[in-house]
Amino acid sequence: MTTATDAPILAVENLVTAFRTGGGWHPAVRDVSFAVQRNETLAIVGESGCGKSVTALSIMGLVPPANGRVAGGHIRFAGRDLVGLDEEEMRKIRGDRISMIFQEPMTSLNPVLTIGFQIAEALHYHRDMGRGEANAAALELLDQVKIPSARQRFADYPHQFSGGMRQRVMIAMALACRPELLLADEPTTALDVTIQAQVLSLLAELKAAYGMAMIFITHNLGVVASIADRVAVMYAGEIVEIAPVNELFARPTHPYTELLLRSIPRVDRDTGGLSAITGQVPAIGAMPSGCRFAARCPLREPICTARDPLLVPLADAPDHRVRCWLRAPPSEMASEAGHA
């Protein structure tokens, strides 16, 4: 677990990332704020289209410029705002101090280059290492991600590796420059459960060894429970709840989080009932006013559709913040809505 005394390595403040669809700009991510400490894993969890990947791409400066842009807010990395940084500067940070792994390693690995070459490339570029030195370091990395007989496999091509091993190669590439922050976007979603368990334990081990911060993006609350220190739940482009992992699972407070947890068929118990969340996520171009979950929420009151709720701390748990008029009324309204 973490001690949150010193300054966070990453602080995202009021991030807005918009995309152009149907002639207008629509925010895919709105008013997203969170911080990540060194040696901490923050999981961002949510369903397709909730903005979790867009948040990661915004941090990496990889929002496609043709139809997307960071339209507001700040992304402070080690005290420096990444928003508005030019591509040249960003390229020095990306792959060096911040790196990212993706869901499908085969699409991020170059099929015609050997994996040894691809790992050494980052060291060559960022650390100005010579070929021999970079290769030696790359080999060591392959050992660290536990590729068996790494020396023999060094000159192999990506297609000669299985899915789980490719993902480990991706991890080796991402860690080559000992980044301070690793963004992992659904890194185990395409893997079988036994392979997923292997990759998760490897990531946890390396994170501890390197003391790096990690943002782990997933739709799987089971994976969240096993890897995260803190959790942010996103819905329709906003964080609706953020809390330390034990607190979130013990006391899910936003109705969406609560329903989501109750709609997972569990492998560890004979499930009685399963809740379903009726309806579906609103489209990006047709966001309702007020709370974006209101249309699907069983607790809906008139205020929910009238005004946008704020992400506010719970009275008895300041590190547990919730965006809900009824479950987490702002303090000046607490007496009025306290009965809800």
Binding site: E47, S48, K146, I147, P148, S149, S162, G164, M165, R168, D192, V193, T194, I195, Q196, A197, Q198, L200, S201, L202, H219, N220, L221, G222, V223, V224, A225, S226, A228, V245, N246, F249, L259, L260, L261, S263, I264, P265, R266, V267, D268, D270, T271, L274, S275, A276, I277, T278, Q280
Partner: protein
């Protein structure tokens, strides 16, 4: 105990694949290497395992969508393998399938109404007006609005398309549904909607299911019994509560313990990192699982363990449980 509606015995299917460049090689994939199981009347039978274990091939072979090499499939006393063309047509009415991605199985240029009515017309179930009425009733049953009849597949979300896939599988009033990863592509909140729908249909229509999934949580929720497959063979079968409480095969235990649980107090088993996971192209000697098994013994490397039926319902193929 209800009677079995479907009995599979020694089902085998090998594929030959030619691949590689510049020197292409022909290899044999032992997708189904002699599997046997029974599905009881009104029961949901889970078929679980990781990618490449042969579970989807098994589902398709039951409907003869892939032609098995050998083995027997008996549905309500009738042999599906030897059935004549005409009989097979009749049998297919009773055996239907739901796919993971219904969009791939819907014609993008055909309205939903037509997609639902066509199978009924082909099988001569009723006249046009009555078929249309039945199609509307089916849409209502799966929770879609009446106007879906006139719309095209692209106008629906993933969850709605799966509802359409389910409605279409019901048009011929089947008795057994093969559901091949029906909720795997869906978000959690939509997944639970579809599971609840399938459960309602199972109760109302007394349907039997072969429910194929890699997600043990979903299988535990939906099914009454299950078989665990590994590289083309069944390694364990039994009732759901028993298997989850006390898995007999080390692979079943590994699958269960590696499945993430939404509770930070329950830590997922941290598994030893492996190299290449073996595949059905070249399964290991002896017990296929011996390369990954924490309890491996010398005999496991030599001899494939014989099937042992522990009681009426439970069975396992593992030297730890040999006679």
């Amino acid at each position: 105990m209800p009677e079995p509606v479907l009995t599979i015995t020694g089902l085998r299917k090998f594929f030959t694949v030619t691949r590689g460049f510049p020197r292409a090689r022909t290899v044999t994939v032992r997708a189904l290497d002699g599997i046997s199981f029974q599905v009881r009347d009104g029961e949901a039978f889970g078929l679980v395992g990781e990618s490449g274990c042969g579970k989807s091939t098994a589902g398709r072979a039951v409907l003869r969508l892939v032609e098995p090499d050998s083995g027997e499939i008996v549905f309500k006393g009738e042999n599906v393998i030897t059935a004549s063309k005409a009989r097979l047509r009749e049998l297919r009415r009773k055996l239907q399938i739901i796919f993971q991605d219904p969009y791939a199985s819907l014609n993008p240029r055909r309205r939903i109404g037509k997609a639902l009515i066509e199978p009924m017309r082909v099988h001569g179930m009723a006249d046009r007006a009555e078929c249309e009425e039945r199609a509307r009733a089916l849409l209502a049953e799966v929770g879609l609005p009446d106007n879906a009849m006139m719309r095209y597949p692209h106008e629906f979300s993933g969850g709605q398309r799966q509802r359409i896939g389910i409605a279409r599988s019901l048009t011929l009033e089947p008795e057994l549904l093969v559901a091949d990863e029906p909720v795997s592509a869906l978000d959690v909140s939509i997944q639970s909607q579809i599971l609840l729908l399938l459960q309602r249909l199972q109760e109302r229509r007394k349907l039997a299911f072969i429910f194929i999934s890699h997600d043990l949580g979903v299988v535990r929720y939906f099914c009454q019994s299950m078989a665990v497959m590994y590289l083309g063979r069944i390694v364990e079968t039994g009732p759901i509560p028993d298997i989850f409480r006390e898995p007999l095969h080390p692979y079943t235990r590994m699958l269960r313990d590696a499945s993430p649980v939404p509770d930070p107090q329950v830590k997922v088993a941290m598994l030893r990192i492996e190299g290449e996971v073996p595949s059905a192209v070249n399964p290991p000697s002896g017990c296929h699982f011996h390369t990954r098994c924490p309890h491996v013994m010398p005999i496991c490397r030599e001899v494939y363990p014989e099937w042992r039926q522990m009681d009426d319902e439970r069975g396992v193929a593992c030297h730890l449980h040999a006679n």
